[in-house]
Amino acid sequence: MKYILLGVIVFICGYIGYGLSKYYIVRLKFFNDLLNFAEKFETEINFSKTKLLNVIDNFKSSSKEFVSVLTNYKTFLNNGNLISDTLLFEKIKILKDDEKHNVYMFFNELGKLDVYNQTKQIQNYKQKFNDIIKSCSEDKKKYGSLYMKLGIITGLLFSLLLF
């Protein structure tokens, strides 16, 4: 019984550590998918001139948060409303304010320019997203495993103190 309890404490603390490190994993996934989307869109507009809504519909994303942004964005388009940054990022807590601003500006300009200018706009944003991805990867490496390890160590320490 004692050992089971010890295991549970280590598991709970480890899980909390994983939860904290997940923040960095999810952020990285979000920006990777955003970059992939920008690249796909750039290709589509230059070769087949596919309509924006079709590009969105055909894009497969593994990031729940990015899917949510795309869904909100599609709703704005279909309802004919101006994009609101608060509603675009509704229930999304992984983005910092300046990142939100960049993503908002990216979506706000989609489909509104001719091929030449739209391509330049996308390339400009791709550069910004690449920089964010770089910093997200470093954070993930630095803090991702750190929180996980800290969680397990804390769990072990608790166990030692209790028993």
Binding site: K49, L52, L53, L77, G111, K112, D114
Partner: protein, 302 residues
């Protein structure tokens, strides 16, 4: 469709405050009142519908124009560059969106159009039987006549030829008709306007290519097309004549006299056997007269 491109408020005014069936055109110019043409008459569009008072009219903003074009492009301006270069977009319901702005050109070639300042939305209407008065002059026992429909812009040329084609089908005159619909206005983008059961539609191609391809692929008895203008169009019409295919076309002019001053007049007069002159006198589609190949009046309604 207008609903897909217009601001909800404006769409509601247009569809609920007056008879939408009589609406011919909507004109939006930046910082100016919205102007609508109803039964050929110009009015301002206000919150309560049509008005002649400028101060109660809705004023067009730059954002309003940009939003309409953005929606008309299905949120993809980059995909309509060819249309922008020509200056218009055709919507799914056959409405034509004429656009003005700044032309961007390079080495004399138009690259695109941006900084939009005006929009002219033309609403196509089916006026049932509007071609009936002239019908018997254009088809007789000998068959179809090469016909040129003449009128100033907005006087119902497209409506007339659409109804004529439909009348052929309604009478089961089994002429194979090919509509060469360069801008998708005659039959609509997806053939949603009534053009009859003996009709094929070749959309969005130039007259030069369309006449050649259409004759080879569909062997029509008659080709119906809108707005012949330049020398290439006249050559395409002549080509149909050499192939034994009849043509019904339209041209911008006020009357027969004006037509004589047009480039290519010598060619035109050798092709066509009937001339139908339309005006807006009693609303778009008013037939003013039908003339024979020697320009003698066969019928006059004035």
């Amino acid at each position: 469709m207008l609903k897909d491109i217009l601001d909800e408020k404006i769409y509601n005014i247009i569809t609920t405050k007056f008879n939408y069936g009589y609406l011919n055109e909507i004109r939006l110019r930046v910082n100016n009142p919205i102007v609508v043409y109803v039964k050929g008459q110009a009015y301002f569009l206000g919150e309560n519908g049509l008005t002649t008072q400028e101060n109660s009219a809705i004023i067009v903003t730059k954002q309003m124009i940009e939003d309409i074009i953005f929606r008309a492009s299905e949120f993809s301006i980059y995909s309509i560059n060819e249309e922008l270069k020509k200056g218009y977009i055709v919507l799914k319901g056959g409405e034509r969106l004429g656009i003005c702005g700044t032309i961007v050109s390079e080495n004399g070639e138009i690259k695109t159009l941006n900084k939009f300042t005006s929009i002219n939305i033309r609403i196509p209407h089916e006026i049932k039987n509007c071609s009936l008065d002239a019908f018997s002059f254009l088809v007789d026992d000998e068959g179809l006549k090469n016909t040129l429909v003449i009128s100033p812009p907005g006087a119902g040329k497209t409506t007339f030829i659409r109804d004529f084609v439909n009348q052929l089908s309604l009478r089961n005159l089994s002429y194979n008709v090919l509509i060469l619909d360069e801008r998708g206005e005659i039959a609509g983008e997806a053939k949603e306007l009534s053009v009859g059961k003996f009709t094929d539609v070749l959309s969005f191609c130039t007259k030069k290519n369309g006449f050649m391809q259409g004759i080879r692929s569909m062997s029509p008895h008659i080709i119906v097309t809108d707005e012949i203008g330049d020398f290439e169009d006249i050559l395409a019409v002549k080509f149909a004549g050499y192939c034994g295919v009849k043509v019904m076309a339209t041209i911008h002019a006020n009357n027969i006299e004006d037509l004589k001053y047009k480039d290519g007049w010598q060619d035109i007069k050798n092709i066509f056997e009937r001339y139908v002159v339309l005006s807006k006198r009693n609303g778009p589609g008013t037939i003013e007269g039908v003339y024979g190949e020697d320009f003698s009046r066969l019928a006059i309604w004035r």
